[in-house]
Symmetry: C2
Subunit: 319 residues, 2 copies
Protein backbone atom coordinates (compact mmCIF):
# COMPACT_ATOMS: atom_id res chain seq x y z
CA UNK A 1 0.00 0.00 0.00
CA UNK A 2 1.18 3.53 -0.68
CA UNK A 3 1.40 5.99 2.18
CA UNK A 4 -1.75 8.04 2.88
CA UNK A 5 -2.12 11.01 0.49
CA UNK A 6 -0.98 13.45 3.18
CA UNK A 7 2.12 11.45 4.16
CA UNK A 8 2.89 10.69 0.51
CA UNK A 9 2.84 14.38 -0.43
CA UNK A 10 5.02 15.23 2.53
CA UNK A 11 7.55 12.46 1.75
CA UNK A 12 7.67 13.58 -1.89
CA UNK A 13 8.45 17.10 -0.75
CA UNK A 14 11.22 15.89 1.57
CA UNK A 15 12.66 13.64 -1.14
CA UNK A 16 12.71 16.57 -3.53
CA UNK A 17 14.58 18.66 -0.95
CA UNK A 18 17.11 15.87 -0.39
CA UNK A 19 17.67 15.26 -4.11
CA UNK A 20 18.10 18.97 -4.80
CA UNK A 21 20.69 19.23 -2.02
CA UNK A 22 22.52 16.03 -3.03
CA UNK A 23 23.03 17.49 -6.50
CA UNK A 24 25.66 19.74 -4.88
CA UNK A 25 27.26 17.08 -2.69
CA UNK A 26 30.00 15.88 -5.04
CA UNK A 27 33.11 17.98 -5.78
CA UNK A 28 32.45 18.12 -9.50
CA UNK A 29 35.04 19.81 -11.70
CA UNK A 30 37.78 19.52 -9.08
CA UNK A 31 37.90 15.71 -9.07
CA UNK A 32 38.50 13.26 -11.96
CA UNK A 33 35.26 12.89 -13.94
CA UNK A 34 35.36 9.10 -13.72
CA UNK A 35 35.16 8.95 -9.93
CA UNK A 36 32.43 11.58 -9.80
CA UNK A 37 30.42 9.54 -12.34
CA UNK A 38 30.87 6.37 -10.29
CA UNK A 39 29.95 8.12 -7.05
CA UNK A 40 26.87 9.63 -8.66
CA UNK A 41 25.88 6.21 -9.97
CA UNK A 42 25.85 4.95 -6.40
CA UNK A 43 24.18 8.03 -4.97
CA UNK A 44 21.55 8.86 -7.59
CA UNK A 45 19.85 5.55 -8.07
CA UNK A 46 16.28 6.48 -7.26
CA UNK A 47 15.99 4.90 -3.82
CA UNK A 48 13.28 5.70 -1.29
CA UNK A 49 15.58 8.15 0.56
CA UNK A 50 14.05 6.82 3.77
CA UNK A 51 16.97 7.79 5.99
CA UNK A 52 17.47 11.42 4.93
CA UNK A 53 13.70 11.96 4.90
CA UNK A 54 13.66 10.66 8.47
CA UNK A 55 16.37 13.18 9.38
CA UNK A 56 14.31 16.06 7.99
CA UNK A 57 11.13 14.68 9.57
CA UNK A 58 12.57 14.46 13.08
CA UNK A 59 14.09 17.93 12.75
CA UNK A 60 10.69 19.33 11.81
CA UNK A 61 8.86 17.27 14.44
CA UNK A 62 10.99 18.55 17.31
CA UNK A 63 11.21 22.14 16.03
CA UNK A 64 8.53 23.52 18.41
CA UNK A 65 10.21 21.80 21.37
CA UNK A 66 13.57 23.24 20.26
CA UNK A 67 12.08 26.72 20.09
CA UNK A 68 12.63 27.07 16.38
CA UNK A 69 10.46 27.14 13.27
CA UNK A 70 9.75 24.15 11.03
CA UNK A 71 11.36 25.73 7.91
CA UNK A 72 14.47 26.69 9.88
CA UNK A 73 14.73 23.18 11.37
CA UNK A 74 14.64 21.71 7.87
CA UNK A 75 17.40 24.04 6.65
CA UNK A 76 19.58 23.18 9.65
CA UNK A 77 19.10 19.46 8.97
CA UNK A 78 19.87 19.38 5.23
CA UNK A 79 23.63 18.70 5.55
CA UNK A 80 22.96 15.89 8.05
CA UNK A 81 20.30 14.42 5.75
CA UNK A 82 22.71 14.42 2.80
CA UNK A 83 25.50 12.88 4.88
CA UNK A 84 23.17 10.11 6.00
CA UNK A 85 22.18 9.26 2.43
CA UNK A 86 25.79 9.30 1.26
CA UNK A 87 26.78 6.93 4.06
CA UNK A 88 23.87 4.67 3.12
CA UNK A 89 24.85 4.78 -0.57
CA UNK A 90 28.50 4.03 0.16
CA UNK A 91 27.47 0.97 2.15
CA UNK A 92 25.32 -0.33 -0.70
CA UNK A 93 28.13 0.14 -3.24
CA UNK A 94 30.55 -1.82 -1.05
CA UNK A 95 28.02 -4.46 0.04
CA UNK A 96 27.25 -5.20 -3.62
CA UNK A 97 30.91 -5.97 -4.43
CA UNK A 98 31.80 -9.54 -5.50
CA UNK A 99 33.95 -9.79 -2.34
CA UNK A 100 30.80 -9.11 -0.29
CA UNK A 101 27.22 -9.92 -1.33
CA UNK A 102 28.00 -10.02 -5.07
CA UNK A 103 24.86 -8.26 -6.29
CA UNK A 104 24.71 -7.18 -9.93
CA UNK A 105 21.34 -5.44 -9.71
CA UNK A 106 20.20 -2.72 -7.31
CA UNK A 107 16.93 -0.81 -7.66
CA UNK A 108 16.62 -2.22 -11.17
CA UNK A 109 20.00 -0.91 -12.36
CA UNK A 110 23.42 -2.55 -12.71
CA UNK A 111 25.47 -2.03 -9.55
CA UNK A 112 28.48 0.28 -9.47
CA UNK A 113 31.12 -2.44 -9.83
CA UNK A 114 29.29 -3.90 -12.83
CA UNK A 115 29.52 -0.56 -14.62
CA UNK A 116 32.90 0.74 -13.41
CA UNK A 117 34.80 -2.34 -12.28
CA UNK A 118 35.59 -3.50 -8.75
CA UNK A 119 38.47 -1.10 -8.13
CA UNK A 120 36.59 2.06 -9.01
CA UNK A 121 33.55 0.76 -7.06
CA UNK A 122 35.67 0.43 -3.92
CA UNK A 123 36.91 3.99 -4.52
CA UNK A 124 33.42 5.33 -5.23
CA UNK A 125 32.24 3.98 -1.88
CA UNK A 126 35.32 5.42 -0.16
CA UNK A 127 34.63 8.76 -1.80
CA UNK A 128 30.96 8.83 -0.77
CA UNK A 129 31.86 8.00 2.83
CA UNK A 130 34.58 10.64 2.93
CA UNK A 131 32.49 13.39 1.33
CA UNK A 132 29.64 12.61 3.76
CA UNK A 133 31.82 13.66 6.68
CA UNK A 134 33.35 16.43 4.60
CA UNK A 135 30.07 18.14 3.85
CA UNK A 136 29.13 18.09 7.53
CA UNK A 137 32.44 19.72 8.46
CA UNK A 138 32.60 22.27 5.63
CA UNK A 139 31.48 25.80 6.33
CA UNK A 140 29.36 26.67 4.48
CA UNK A 141 28.31 23.14 3.57
CA UNK A 142 28.19 22.60 -0.22
CA UNK A 143 24.68 21.16 0.14
CA UNK A 144 23.22 24.01 2.20
CA UNK A 145 20.92 26.35 0.25
CA UNK A 146 22.57 29.77 -0.08
CA UNK A 147 21.96 31.89 2.99
CA UNK A 148 20.75 28.91 5.04
CA UNK A 149 21.43 29.11 8.78
CA UNK A 150 24.28 26.94 10.09
CA UNK A 151 24.11 25.00 13.33
CA UNK A 152 26.78 25.83 15.95
CA UNK A 153 30.08 23.97 15.57
CA UNK A 154 29.72 21.91 18.75
CA UNK A 155 26.31 20.63 17.62
CA UNK A 156 27.67 19.71 14.18
CA UNK A 157 30.55 17.81 15.78
CA UNK A 158 28.10 15.92 17.96
CA UNK A 159 26.03 14.90 14.92
CA UNK A 160 29.21 13.90 13.09
CA UNK A 161 30.21 11.74 16.02
CA UNK A 162 26.81 10.03 16.15
CA UNK A 163 26.99 9.23 12.42
CA UNK A 164 30.57 7.96 12.69
CA UNK A 165 29.67 5.60 15.52
CA UNK A 166 26.67 4.30 13.56
CA UNK A 167 28.73 3.83 10.39
CA UNK A 168 31.86 2.40 12.01
CA UNK A 169 33.04 -0.83 13.58
CA UNK A 170 30.37 -0.77 16.28
CA UNK A 171 27.63 -0.19 13.71
CA UNK A 172 27.39 -0.83 9.98
CA UNK A 173 30.94 -2.08 9.39
CA UNK A 174 30.61 -4.46 12.35
CA UNK A 175 27.20 -5.68 11.19
CA UNK A 176 28.39 -6.42 7.68
CA UNK A 177 31.38 -8.27 9.16
CA UNK A 178 29.04 -10.52 11.15
CA UNK A 179 26.95 -11.08 8.02
CA UNK A 180 29.99 -12.04 5.91
CA UNK A 181 31.26 -14.34 8.62
CA UNK A 182 27.87 -16.06 9.00
CA UNK A 183 27.76 -16.60 5.24
CA UNK A 184 31.18 -18.29 5.31
CA UNK A 185 32.91 -15.56 3.30
CA UNK A 186 35.84 -15.16 5.71
CA UNK A 187 38.86 -17.44 5.23
CA UNK A 188 39.53 -19.70 8.25
CA UNK A 189 36.14 -18.76 9.73
CA UNK A 190 33.65 -21.50 8.77
CA UNK A 191 30.08 -20.41 7.97
CA UNK A 192 27.91 -20.53 11.06
CA UNK A 193 24.15 -19.94 11.14
CA UNK A 194 23.15 -17.06 13.43
CA UNK A 195 20.93 -17.55 16.45
CA UNK A 196 17.93 -15.24 16.70
CA UNK A 197 19.83 -13.08 19.21
CA UNK A 198 22.81 -12.86 16.87
CA UNK A 199 20.50 -12.08 13.94
CA UNK A 200 18.99 -9.18 15.87
CA UNK A 201 22.45 -7.93 16.80
CA UNK A 202 23.60 -8.15 13.18
CA UNK A 203 20.57 -6.19 11.93
CA UNK A 204 20.84 -3.66 14.75
CA UNK A 205 24.38 -2.89 13.62
CA UNK A 206 24.04 -3.28 9.86
CA UNK A 207 20.84 -1.31 9.26
CA UNK A 208 19.34 -0.27 12.60
CA UNK A 209 22.28 1.87 13.69
CA UNK A 210 22.13 4.24 10.71
CA UNK A 211 18.34 4.53 10.83
CA UNK A 212 18.59 5.52 14.48
CA UNK A 213 21.45 7.91 13.78
CA UNK A 214 19.47 9.46 10.90
CA UNK A 215 16.60 10.24 13.23
CA UNK A 216 18.85 11.37 16.07
CA UNK A 217 20.86 13.67 13.77
CA UNK A 218 17.74 15.55 12.70
CA UNK A 219 16.61 16.12 16.26
CA UNK A 220 20.09 16.91 17.57
CA UNK A 221 20.94 19.52 14.95
CA UNK A 222 18.00 21.67 16.12
CA UNK A 223 19.45 21.91 19.63
CA UNK A 224 16.46 20.22 21.28
CA UNK A 225 17.05 18.81 24.75
CA UNK A 226 18.56 15.36 25.29
CA UNK A 227 15.38 13.71 26.61
CA UNK A 228 13.65 14.44 23.29
CA UNK A 229 16.66 13.14 21.37
CA UNK A 230 16.46 9.95 23.42
CA UNK A 231 12.76 9.54 22.57
CA UNK A 232 13.50 10.02 18.87
CA UNK A 233 16.24 7.40 19.14
CA UNK A 234 13.88 4.92 20.76
CA UNK A 235 11.22 5.59 18.11
CA UNK A 236 13.73 5.03 15.31
CA UNK A 237 15.00 1.85 16.92
CA UNK A 238 11.50 0.33 16.72
CA UNK A 239 10.83 1.81 13.28
CA UNK A 240 14.08 0.41 11.91
CA UNK A 241 13.32 -3.04 13.23
CA UNK A 242 9.82 -2.92 11.70
CA UNK A 243 11.32 -1.91 8.34
CA UNK A 244 13.84 -4.75 8.55
CA UNK A 245 11.21 -7.38 9.34
CA UNK A 246 8.91 -6.17 6.56
CA UNK A 247 11.89 -6.14 4.16
CA UNK A 248 12.43 -9.80 4.95
CA UNK A 249 8.71 -10.50 4.39
CA UNK A 250 8.69 -8.61 1.09
CA UNK A 251 11.78 -10.50 -0.07
CA UNK A 252 9.72 -13.69 0.22
CA UNK A 253 6.41 -12.28 -1.03
CA UNK A 254 7.45 -9.60 -3.50
CA UNK A 255 8.16 -9.69 -7.21
CA UNK A 256 11.37 -8.44 -8.83
CA UNK A 257 9.53 -5.48 -10.37
CA UNK A 258 8.17 -4.28 -7.03
CA UNK A 259 11.46 -4.60 -5.23
CA UNK A 260 13.82 -3.43 -7.98
CA UNK A 261 16.09 -6.28 -6.96
CA UNK A 262 16.13 -10.03 -7.30
CA UNK A 263 13.23 -11.25 -5.14
CA UNK A 264 13.87 -14.29 -3.01
CA UNK A 265 17.64 -13.83 -3.33
CA UNK A 266 18.18 -13.60 0.42
CA UNK A 267 16.10 -16.69 1.05
CA UNK A 268 17.77 -18.58 -1.81
CA UNK A 269 21.26 -17.76 -0.53
CA UNK A 270 20.38 -19.17 2.89
CA UNK A 271 20.79 -15.74 4.48
CA UNK A 272 19.26 -15.53 7.92
CA UNK A 273 15.98 -13.60 7.98
CA UNK A 274 12.98 -13.00 10.22
CA UNK A 275 10.70 -14.55 7.62
CA UNK A 276 12.77 -17.74 7.62
CA UNK A 277 12.97 -17.86 11.42
CA UNK A 278 9.35 -17.01 12.25
CA UNK A 279 7.28 -17.35 9.09
CA UNK A 280 5.36 -14.56 7.39
CA UNK A 281 2.43 -14.14 9.79
CA UNK A 282 4.46 -14.11 12.99
CA UNK A 283 6.98 -11.74 11.37
CA UNK A 284 4.18 -9.30 10.53
CA UNK A 285 2.96 -9.53 14.14
CA UNK A 286 6.46 -8.77 15.42
CA UNK A 287 6.68 -5.73 13.14
CA UNK A 288 3.28 -4.50 14.32
CA UNK A 289 4.43 -4.72 17.93
CA UNK A 290 7.47 -2.58 17.07
CA UNK A 291 5.21 0.02 15.52
CA UNK A 292 2.99 0.09 18.61
CA UNK A 293 6.02 0.72 20.81
CA UNK A 294 7.28 3.38 18.40
CA UNK A 295 3.96 5.20 18.55
CA UNK A 296 3.78 4.99 22.35
CA UNK A 297 7.22 6.63 22.51
CA UNK A 298 6.07 9.47 20.26
CA UNK A 299 2.96 9.94 22.36
CA UNK A 300 4.95 10.19 25.61
CA UNK A 301 7.36 12.72 24.10
CA UNK A 302 4.64 14.90 22.56
CA UNK A 303 5.86 14.13 19.04
CA UNK A 304 2.77 12.59 17.43
CA UNK A 305 2.00 13.53 13.84
CA UNK A 306 3.79 12.59 10.69
CA UNK A 307 6.27 10.37 12.50
CA UNK A 308 3.23 8.36 13.65
CA UNK A 309 1.96 8.09 10.08
CA UNK A 310 5.39 6.93 8.92
CA UNK A 311 5.40 4.16 11.51
CA UNK A 312 1.96 2.99 10.38
CA UNK A 313 3.01 3.03 6.75
CA UNK A 314 6.07 0.87 7.50
CA UNK A 315 3.67 -2.06 8.04
CA UNK A 316 1.51 -1.64 4.95
CA UNK A 317 4.15 -0.78 2.36
CA UNK A 318 4.68 -3.17 -0.55
CA UNK A 319 8.20 -2.05 -1.53
Amino acid sequence: MSPSPDLATYLDDLRHTVDAALAHALPEGMAPALIIDAMRHGLMSGGKRLRPCLTLMTAEAVAPLAGTTVPRARLLAIPSACAVEMIHSYSLVHDDLPAMDNDILRRGRPTTHVVYGDGVAVLAGDGLLTEAFGLLAASPSPVAPSGAPEAPADRRLRVLSVLAVAAGAIGMVGGQTIDLQAAGRVPSHPAQPLSERELRDMHARKTGALIRASAVAGAMITGVEDSTIAAVDQYANELGLAFQIIDDVLDVEGSDADLGKTAGKDAASGKPSYAALHGIDESRRLAAACVERAKATLHAAGLEGRLTALADWSLTRTR
Copy 2:
Protein backbone atom coordinates in the same frame (compact mmCIF):
# COMPACT_ATOMS: atom_id res chain seq x y z
CA MET B 1 71.22 7.23 5.82
CA SER B 2 69.46 7.47 9.16
CA PRO B 3 68.29 10.85 10.39
CA SER B 4 70.80 12.83 12.51
CA PRO B 5 70.89 11.62 16.15
CA ASP B 6 68.88 14.64 17.30
CA LEU B 7 66.16 14.25 14.65
CA ALA B 8 66.10 10.46 15.10
CA THR B 9 65.52 10.78 18.85
CA TYR B 10 62.80 13.33 18.28
CA LEU B 11 61.04 11.21 15.62
CA ASP B 12 61.21 8.16 17.91
CA ASP B 13 59.57 10.17 20.66
CA LEU B 14 56.81 11.36 18.32
CA ARG B 15 56.27 7.85 16.96
CA HIS B 16 55.97 6.54 20.50
CA THR B 17 53.35 9.20 21.28
CA VAL B 18 51.41 8.31 18.12
CA ASP B 19 51.52 4.56 18.76
CA ALA B 20 50.44 5.00 22.38
CA ALA B 21 47.48 7.12 21.28
CA LEU B 22 46.52 4.79 18.41
CA ALA B 23 46.24 1.92 20.89
CA HIS B 24 42.98 3.59 22.02
CA ALA B 25 41.67 4.44 18.55
CA LEU B 26 39.62 1.31 17.86
CA PRO B 27 36.27 0.65 19.61
CA GLU B 28 37.44 -2.62 21.13
CA GLY B 29 34.91 -4.65 23.08
CA MET B 30 31.94 -2.89 21.50
CA ALA B 31 32.61 -4.12 17.95
CA PRO B 32 32.97 -7.69 16.61
CA ALA B 33 36.49 -8.96 17.43
CA LEU B 34 37.13 -9.98 13.83
CA ILE B 35 36.80 -6.48 12.39
CA ILE B 36 38.88 -4.96 15.18
CA ASP B 37 41.61 -7.53 14.48
CA ALA B 38 41.54 -6.73 10.77
CA MET B 39 41.58 -2.97 11.39
CA ARG B 40 44.49 -3.35 13.80
CA HIS B 41 46.36 -5.45 11.24
CA GLY B 42 46.11 -2.53 8.83
CA LEU B 43 46.87 0.12 11.43
CA MET B 44 49.63 -1.49 13.49
CA SER B 45 52.03 -2.63 10.84
CA GLY B 46 55.16 -0.83 11.95
CA GLY B 47 55.28 1.91 9.34
CA LYS B 48 57.36 5.07 9.58
CA ARG B 49 54.35 7.06 10.87
CA LEU B 50 55.65 9.93 8.75
CA ARG B 51 52.29 11.68 8.43
CA PRO B 52 51.19 11.75 12.08
CA CYS B 53 54.74 12.69 13.15
CA LEU B 54 54.52 15.58 10.72
CA THR B 55 51.24 16.64 12.33
CA LEU B 56 52.83 16.71 15.77
CA MET B 57 55.97 18.41 14.41
CA THR B 58 54.10 21.27 12.77
CA ALA B 59 51.95 21.75 15.88
CA GLU B 60 55.09 22.05 18.00
CA ALA B 61 56.89 24.20 15.44
CA VAL B 62 54.14 26.82 15.30
CA ALA B 63 53.38 26.73 19.04
CA PRO B 64 55.32 29.93 19.88
CA LEU B 65 53.62 31.77 16.99
CA ALA B 66 50.23 30.48 18.23
CA GLY B 67 50.97 31.76 21.74
CA THR B 68 50.91 28.30 23.27
CA THR B 69 53.46 25.90 24.73
CA VAL B 70 55.09 23.03 22.88
CA PRO B 71 53.67 20.31 25.19
CA ARG B 72 50.17 21.79 24.93
CA ALA B 73 50.45 22.00 21.13
CA ARG B 74 51.34 18.32 21.01
CA LEU B 75 48.37 17.34 23.18
CA LEU B 76 46.01 19.39 21.01
CA ALA B 77 47.33 17.70 17.88
CA ILE B 78 47.17 14.05 19.00
CA PRO B 79 43.62 13.33 17.70
CA SER B 80 44.49 14.89 14.33
CA ALA B 81 47.71 12.87 14.16
CA CYS B 82 45.82 9.64 14.84
CA ALA B 83 43.13 10.50 12.29
CA VAL B 84 45.80 11.13 9.67
CA GLU B 85 47.46 7.76 10.29
CA MET B 86 44.13 5.93 10.19
CA ILE B 87 43.26 7.57 6.87
CA HIS B 88 46.69 6.60 5.54
CA SER B 89 46.26 3.02 6.78
CA TYR B 90 42.78 2.69 5.30
CA SER B 91 44.12 3.78 1.92
CA LEU B 92 46.90 1.18 2.03
CA VAL B 93 44.44 -1.61 2.95
CA HIS B 94 42.19 -0.71 0.02
CA ASP B 95 45.04 -0.01 -2.46
CA ASP B 96 46.48 -3.47 -1.73
CA LEU B 97 43.22 -5.23 -2.71
CA PRO B 98 43.26 -7.53 -5.76
CA ALA B 99 40.77 -5.15 -7.41
CA MET B 100 43.36 -2.37 -7.05
CA ASP B 101 47.17 -2.84 -6.91
CA ASN B 102 46.99 -6.49 -5.82
CA ASP B 103 49.82 -6.41 -3.29
CA ILE B 104 50.28 -9.39 -1.01
CA LEU B 105 53.15 -7.94 1.04
CA ARG B 106 53.33 -4.62 2.87
CA ARG B 107 56.14 -3.65 5.23
CA GLY B 108 57.25 -7.28 5.18
CA ARG B 109 53.89 -8.67 6.35
CA PRO B 110 50.98 -10.22 4.45
CA THR B 111 48.42 -7.57 3.53
CA THR B 112 45.01 -7.39 5.19
CA HIS B 113 43.08 -9.14 2.42
CA VAL B 114 45.59 -11.99 2.38
CA VAL B 115 44.94 -12.64 6.07
CA TYR B 116 41.22 -11.81 6.34
CA GLY B 117 39.86 -12.14 2.81
CA ASP B 118 38.82 -9.41 0.41
CA GLY B 119 35.43 -8.69 1.98
CA VAL B 120 36.73 -8.10 5.49
CA ALA B 121 39.65 -6.08 4.07
CA VAL B 122 37.20 -3.73 2.34
CA LEU B 123 35.35 -3.41 5.65
CA ALA B 124 38.56 -2.91 7.66
CA GLY B 125 39.47 0.01 5.42
CA ASP B 126 35.95 1.40 5.69
CA GLY B 127 36.16 1.08 9.46
CA LEU B 128 39.53 2.83 9.71
CA LEU B 129 38.31 5.71 7.55
CA THR B 130 35.11 6.08 9.56
CA GLU B 131 36.80 5.89 12.97
CA ALA B 132 39.35 8.50 11.80
CA PHE B 133 36.60 11.07 11.44
CA GLY B 134 34.84 9.70 14.50
CA LEU B 135 37.77 10.24 16.84
CA LEU B 136 38.15 13.83 15.64
CA ALA B 137 34.46 14.50 16.33
CA ALA B 138 34.19 12.67 19.65
CA SER B 139 34.43 14.67 22.84
CA PRO B 140 36.58 13.67 24.61
CA SER B 141 38.46 11.92 21.81
CA PRO B 142 39.24 8.28 22.65
CA VAL B 143 42.89 8.89 21.72
CA ALA B 144 43.41 12.01 23.84
CA PRO B 145 45.42 11.43 27.03
CA SER B 146 43.18 11.86 30.06
CA GLY B 147 42.86 15.50 31.06
CA ALA B 148 44.35 16.71 27.75
CA PRO B 149 43.10 20.09 26.54
CA GLU B 150 40.60 20.01 23.66
CA ALA B 151 40.69 22.43 20.73
CA PRO B 152 37.55 24.55 20.21
CA ALA B 153 34.80 22.93 18.13
CA ASP B 154 35.13 25.28 15.15
CA ARG B 155 38.84 24.54 14.86
CA ARG B 156 38.23 20.78 15.04
CA LEU B 157 35.60 21.06 12.29
CA ARG B 158 38.06 22.99 10.14
CA VAL B 159 40.71 20.29 10.56
CA LEU B 160 38.13 17.62 9.81
CA SER B 161 37.18 19.43 6.62
CA VAL B 162 40.80 19.73 5.50
CA LEU B 163 41.34 16.00 6.04
CA ALA B 164 38.11 15.08 4.24
CA VAL B 165 39.06 17.14 1.20
CA ALA B 166 42.52 15.55 1.12
CA ALA B 167 41.10 12.03 1.49
CA GLY B 168 38.13 12.43 -0.85
CA ALA B 169 37.44 12.61 -4.56
CA ILE B 170 39.62 15.69 -5.06
CA GLY B 171 42.51 14.08 -3.22
CA MET B 172 43.43 10.47 -2.47
CA VAL B 173 40.35 8.79 -3.95
CA GLY B 174 40.73 10.83 -7.12
CA GLY B 175 44.45 10.10 -7.36
CA GLN B 176 43.97 6.37 -6.98
CA THR B 177 41.25 6.52 -9.65
CA ILE B 178 43.69 8.13 -12.09
CA ASP B 179 46.29 5.50 -11.21
CA LEU B 180 43.85 2.61 -11.81
CA GLN B 181 42.72 4.13 -15.07
CA ALA B 182 46.30 4.64 -16.29
CA ALA B 183 47.07 1.01 -15.46
CA GLY B 184 44.12 -0.19 -17.56
CA ARG B 185 42.17 -1.53 -14.59
CA VAL B 186 38.90 0.21 -15.47
CA PRO B 187 36.53 -1.59 -17.88
CA SER B 188 35.92 0.34 -21.12
CA HIS B 189 38.77 2.74 -20.27
CA PRO B 190 41.91 1.51 -22.10
CA ALA B 191 45.25 1.87 -20.30
CA GLN B 192 46.91 5.14 -21.18
CA PRO B 193 50.41 6.20 -20.09
CA LEU B 194 50.42 9.43 -18.09
CA SER B 195 52.24 12.52 -19.27
CA GLU B 196 54.61 14.10 -16.76
CA ARG B 197 51.97 16.71 -15.93
CA GLU B 198 49.38 13.98 -15.34
CA LEU B 199 51.86 11.99 -13.26
CA ARG B 200 52.45 15.02 -11.02
CA ASP B 201 48.70 15.56 -10.71
CA MET B 202 48.16 11.90 -9.81
CA HIS B 203 50.85 11.99 -7.11
CA ALA B 204 49.66 15.35 -5.79
CA ARG B 205 46.24 13.80 -5.20
CA LYS B 206 47.21 10.28 -4.20
CA THR B 207 49.99 11.02 -1.71
CA GLY B 208 50.70 14.76 -1.69
CA ALA B 209 47.26 15.83 -0.52
CA LEU B 210 47.35 13.84 2.73
CA ILE B 211 50.94 14.84 3.52
CA ARG B 212 49.95 18.48 3.13
CA ALA B 213 46.79 17.99 5.16
CA SER B 214 48.80 16.22 7.89
CA ALA B 215 51.07 19.23 8.23
CA VAL B 216 48.23 21.75 7.94
CA ALA B 217 46.15 19.93 10.57
CA GLY B 218 48.93 20.19 13.16
CA ALA B 219 49.36 23.91 12.60
CA MET B 220 45.64 24.62 12.35
CA ILE B 221 44.68 22.85 15.57
CA THR B 222 46.90 25.23 17.57
CA GLY B 223 44.92 28.25 16.36
CA VAL B 224 47.91 29.87 14.66
CA GLU B 225 47.12 32.51 12.04
CA ASP B 226 46.31 31.60 8.45
CA SER B 227 49.54 32.96 6.93
CA THR B 228 51.55 30.50 9.03
CA ILE B 229 49.20 27.66 8.04
CA ALA B 230 49.76 28.60 4.40
CA ALA B 231 53.55 28.45 4.87
CA VAL B 232 53.28 25.03 6.51
CA ASP B 233 51.13 23.88 3.59
CA GLN B 234 53.70 25.08 1.06
CA TYR B 235 56.53 23.41 2.99
CA ALA B 236 54.62 20.12 3.10
CA ASN B 237 53.84 20.33 -0.59
CA GLU B 238 57.58 20.40 -1.42
CA LEU B 239 58.41 17.83 1.25
CA GLY B 240 55.76 15.44 -0.05
CA LEU B 241 57.04 15.72 -3.61
CA ALA B 242 60.62 15.09 -2.43
CA PHE B 243 59.45 11.97 -0.55
CA GLN B 244 57.59 10.73 -3.63
CA ILE B 245 60.56 11.20 -5.95
CA ILE B 246 62.94 9.49 -3.52
CA ASP B 247 60.42 6.63 -3.10
CA ASP B 248 60.57 6.11 -6.85
CA VAL B 249 64.37 6.15 -6.76
CA LEU B 250 64.49 3.70 -3.85
CA ASP B 251 62.08 1.39 -5.66
CA VAL B 252 64.69 1.08 -8.42
CA GLU B 253 67.80 1.08 -6.18
CA GLY B 254 66.60 -0.59 -3.00
CA SER B 255 66.46 -4.19 -1.89
CA ASP B 256 63.35 -5.97 -0.63
CA ALA B 257 64.71 -6.07 2.92
CA ASP B 258 65.30 -2.31 3.04
CA LEU B 259 61.90 -1.44 1.65
CA GLY B 260 59.75 -4.09 3.33
CA LYS B 261 58.02 -4.56 0.00
CA THR B 262 58.85 -6.06 -3.36
CA ALA B 263 61.60 -3.83 -4.81
CA GLY B 264 61.32 -2.94 -8.46
CA LYS B 265 57.62 -3.87 -8.49
CA ASP B 266 56.49 -0.44 -9.67
CA ALA B 267 59.07 -0.39 -12.44
CA ALA B 268 58.28 -4.00 -13.43
CA SER B 269 54.55 -3.28 -13.64
CA GLY B 270 55.18 -0.37 -16.00
CA LYS B 271 53.81 2.06 -13.43
CA PRO B 272 54.71 5.62 -14.21
CA SER B 273 57.47 6.98 -11.96
CA TYR B 274 59.91 9.86 -11.72
CA ALA B 275 62.81 7.45 -11.93
CA ALA B 276 61.48 6.01 -15.18
CA LEU B 277 60.76 9.44 -16.64
CA HIS B 278 63.96 11.24 -15.62
CA GLY B 279 66.49 8.65 -14.53
CA ILE B 280 68.02 8.36 -11.06
CA ASP B 281 70.40 11.33 -11.10
CA GLU B 282 67.96 13.87 -12.47
CA SER B 283 65.28 12.60 -10.07
CA ARG B 284 67.60 13.19 -7.12
CA ARG B 285 68.29 16.71 -8.40
CA LEU B 286 64.55 17.39 -8.67
CA ALA B 287 64.04 16.20 -5.08
CA ALA B 288 66.90 18.39 -3.86
CA ALA B 289 65.29 21.42 -5.49
CA CYS B 290 62.02 20.65 -3.67
CA VAL B 291 63.89 20.52 -0.36
CA GLU B 292 65.58 23.87 -1.06
CA ARG B 293 62.18 25.47 -1.69
CA ALA B 294 60.74 23.82 1.43
CA LYS B 295 63.57 25.24 3.55
CA ALA B 296 63.21 28.71 2.06
CA THR B 297 59.51 28.66 3.00
CA LEU B 298 60.37 27.71 6.59
CA HIS B 299 62.97 30.47 6.75
CA ALA B 300 60.53 33.13 5.54
CA ALA B 301 57.87 32.02 8.06
CA GLY B 302 60.27 31.87 11.03
CA LEU B 303 59.79 28.10 11.37
CA GLU B 304 63.33 26.78 10.97
CA GLY B 305 64.39 23.92 13.22
CA ARG B 306 63.34 20.31 13.18
CA LEU B 307 61.15 20.77 10.12
CA THR B 308 64.33 21.84 8.30
CA ALA B 309 66.14 18.73 9.48
CA LEU B 310 63.24 16.55 8.32
CA ALA B 311 63.43 18.07 4.84
CA ASP B 312 67.18 17.38 4.65
CA TRP B 313 66.69 13.79 5.80
CA SER B 314 64.08 13.18 3.09
CA LEU B 315 66.93 13.26 0.54
CA THR B 316 69.38 10.99 2.32
CA ARG B 317 67.03 8.31 3.64
CA THR B 318 67.48 4.76 2.35
CA ARG B 319 63.99 3.44 3.22
